[in-house]
Symmetry: none
Subunit: 224 residues, 2 copies
Amino acid sequence: MKILIADDDRDLLSLIAFALTQAGYLVLRAPDGPTAIRTFAAEAPDLVVLDINMPGASGFQVCEAIRLQSRVPIMMLTVRGEEEDLVRALELGADDYLNKPFSPRTLLARIKALLRRAGGEAGAPLAVGRVALDVDEHTVRISDAAPVRLTKLELRLLQMLLANAGRTVNSDRLLVQVWGHRNSGDRQLLKQLVHRLRQKIEADPANPVLLQTAAGSGYKLIVE
Amino acid sequence: MKILIADDDRDLLSLIAFALTQAGYLVLRAPDGPTAIRTFAAEAPDLVVLDINMPGASGFQVCEAIRLQSRVPIMMLTVRGEEEDLVRALELGADDYLNKPFSPRTLLARIKALLRRAGGEAGAPLAVGRVALDVDEHTVRISDAAPVRLTKLELRLLQMLLANAGRTVNSDRLLVQVWGHRNSGDRQLLKQLVHRLRQKIEADPANPVLLQTAAGSGYKLIVE
DNA sequence: GCGTTTTATAACCGTTCTGTTACCGCATGC
DNA sequence: GCATGCGGTAACAGAACGGTTATAAAACGC
């Protein structure tokens, strides 16, 4: 589980990072808004914690930017009493908020709750239906077949599709989440990667059952 | 074995340093928090002893800073009665504590115990399956073969793998845990170390059975 | 001090992965 | 018809990766 934390208070950032690392999460840090947006695109974390006051781009702007491309759970850090900020954050699509100051313990509890609510808090093997992904080992297992080894990019793509299992994921979003920086013109990369992934996970790659094309928009993973 | 001691009481520092040097350890001293953090980064000691009250940065802060990059054993020196401090220290990831005042003999005993159990991350046994690691002697024994001498780094790597026996350990994590500070670009170090370790513990180093490669992610130890 | 061991750095090689280019088939629309 | 856009496939070259060897630098033991 990857968690992105954006806060310009270095001490607080360290404290939070430490607490979450201890709890077994992989922590990504961002000291300001632009970095947060870039890191989000590059790493596709499973949850985002945003401070509202940050240099470069406020938590609001970051929240908005992220919501354009993802439904990842977002937690906002607010200052007690600033009711207006809170309302605005929730309107922009934040999922939860926490008043400063708070204890790491509280944050951890809320994060766990949020992840649970977001669906499938799984530790190592991320399994949905017939698809079981082992991120550590870089392998997938389809139904009861032998595990197949995946490359870094294949793994990322499958992670993204699995996180949105059953729903179509936009090609542009996949490009951003898998490669992190590419412009949307680079469709060929995705085409190739899908093709290579199908060779590995489909019984009949020419007639895909799991990884289906949504013509004109993107791809989706069928796991029933 | 390098031990870093951080304490602003010069007399106590000298006493401890003397006792540990006599016992055969290499002692690094730090009179304050920032120095401790800097020395840790530069020297990557095998154990850290921290006083809680120090100028510059408290033992808590130093502990936190170290834990962000390493799982090195940390012992905290506390004042009897300050229960809260103790709890906080352990929460921050300290491994043991000692109430002041204490005798050098007691400290030495506790340090030895800490170093002994430092191998396995959650107190894992030093012997798993066919691999038996003797941290004190710097040796491994595979099945019933003769014990093999290991260097410090080889030992550290094997400790980390053994602590996660059967599971893949990420290359970046290994770099951090074995060297303590390296950036992830330094793959060559790990490559070399794995190679040297295989020469020592594998029956056929060209076809490793115990220390296997997980392509794209890291290495794992197979102990069945 | 000296020689030995250990660790770091560099270079080379084969394999795998990734990005690129090209081509094919198909549907759409003029 | 033909041009165009889109998705799938094939082929290839450069990059990245892991293993190996060699050599330099640092640490260690005496």
